[in-house]
Symmetry: C2
């Protein structure tokens, strides 16, 4: 297991962590200044600065990406919506290529309209079929582009609105169905916030193995958690056994970045400098 206590060379910052403090170009500079060597940006943050400008800035600062957030949201109410989602995912793949990302993270979507508080139907099995079909329809484009797709299981509390894939086991079942040869084009993003509670987590990490383990996200689960979306904790402030999980990831073959992704009203309300410095310190002491 890699020793992170003396260095943060494997730390990556998911830029949603600082979305309220700074635009992406400032985030990149602040990361580079602290010796943080990787980021994982969101599409809307990239678009706000400009895709080519971000790609250039990433190159010039010598940063790498640990992922690009995000594709997905495949289910839709009708055929036009399903087709639009596939088109949008192809664009996301192309953007990820322009940025030099190692994978496109998929938040797969679920009941159409639920995110807006008006679900158009309740048939989650239908949503799951549409997700599988949508990934299948996107996979050839990803393969040609050389851009792996990383299915991210979200916590079951987000099953209606954001993702109907809620366990690593389910994500890997989809991988095995669509990419039985383990080509490298389809895998998973393991975000401990979403999967820490799962009694089968370690077994499924073993099952995934190096070729399917495309990303590793960390933060912490607070007790109590006061909001279903924006109350994530800084590593060390909650109950997730982060180091145990990282040891298991590495034993299974994962050798990439540890990406800090904290959606939190608490941390969005603090100075960006403090957030980054805390991420570095906790990465060394806790992760």
């Amino acid at each position: 297991m890699r020793d992170f206590s003396q260095s943060h060379e494997w730390l990556s910052i998911n830029t949603a962590t600082l979305r309220r403090q700074w635009p992406l170009d400032r985030i990149i500079n602040e990361c580079a200044r602290r010796g943080i060597r990787a980021i994982s940006p969101w599409r809307d943050q990239v678009a706000a600065v400009g895709l080519q400008a971000v790609a250039r800035q990433v190159r010039e600062t010598g940063l790498t990406l640990s992922g690009y957030c995000r594709g997905g949201f495949f289910p839709a109410a009708d055929a036009a919506g399903l087709a639009a989602a596939i088109d949008d995912n192809r664009r996301a793949i192309d953007e990820a290529c322009t940025l030099g990302a190692p994978c496109l993270v998929l938040v797969v979507g679920s009941l159409p309209g639920a995110l807006e508080g008006q679900p158009l139907h309740r048939d989650i099995a239908r949503a799951r079929t549409e997700v599988t079909d949508g990934i299948a329809a996107t996979l050839e484009h990803a393969r040609r582009a050389g851009m792996p797709l990383a299915i991210e299981p979200l916590h079951p509390m987000q099953a209606a609105e954001r993702a109907c894939i809620n366990t690593l086991e389910h994500a890997l079942d989809v991988c095995d169905a669509l990419d039985p040869t383990r080509s490298g084009t389809l895998g998973v993003a393991v975000d401990l916030y979403h999967v820490w509670w799962d009694p089968k987590l370690m077994r499924q990490i073993d099952r995934a193995g190096r070729t399917r383990l495309l990303a590793f996200h960390v933060c912490d689960w607070l007790t109590p958690t006061r909001d279903l979306l924006n109350d994530r904790g800084m590593m060390g402030d909650g109950v997730i056994e982060i180091r145990k999980a990282r040891a298991h990831m590495e034993a299974a073959g994962y050798a990439g970045h540890c990406e800090v992704e904290i959606f939190s009203e608490r941390w969005w309300g603090r100075p960006g400098e403090e957030v980054l410095d805390t991420c570095i310190a906790r990465h060394r002491s806790v992760v």
Copy 2:
């Protein structure tokens, strides 16, 4: 599948649904007055009125129980705490017998102290072992008393504080380990609020079968859900496919009550009469 549209003879009211409006003796009378034939009371509500008084009132009103809430909370920081939990579960079994309940529902517990916001450790695997050991140590008392224990998997968002068993599969794994002969003394309570999101739900209901399916709880999952504990919805107001799940339960052999259990600031804030009348109406139209 039973037709509920013309009658509410299989409706049960979990009395937490009305805990802010009325004491238990009033709840029982209001249920009986409306032709509701079953309840599932909580220990603290029973204690506030008196165990013998409640048992007598239940008999006199002709109600039955669909369960007794709750035993569990097995994990503890030390040996004394573990022993105290087992003692308390034995008392809960005896109370359930006095009340004539068909089962004692187990909310198994998780990280000691987490419910109070001060988890004493993060080792959820240890908590899971203590749960299995605690149920094992309680089982003989339950068997002699003829009181089945129903393990209730809670939603993963409650994994730190309330229950480290969060899927029906995990609950059934514990059942199979401790009661391989399917004696009838150990089974599960299927609360759709907690398990609706699970892609393996239907398969695990099949696996459970008649001898393990001891209780069935309904309410609904709202989009958005604003609180991790007290924002459950009335049946029909959310995204759970209740009737589809009930059909599956019945096909697997379940023939008991449908128990409405709604923890909700919204519904606790309304008149108890309105809540009960709405439960009856939705039981007929949605469940």
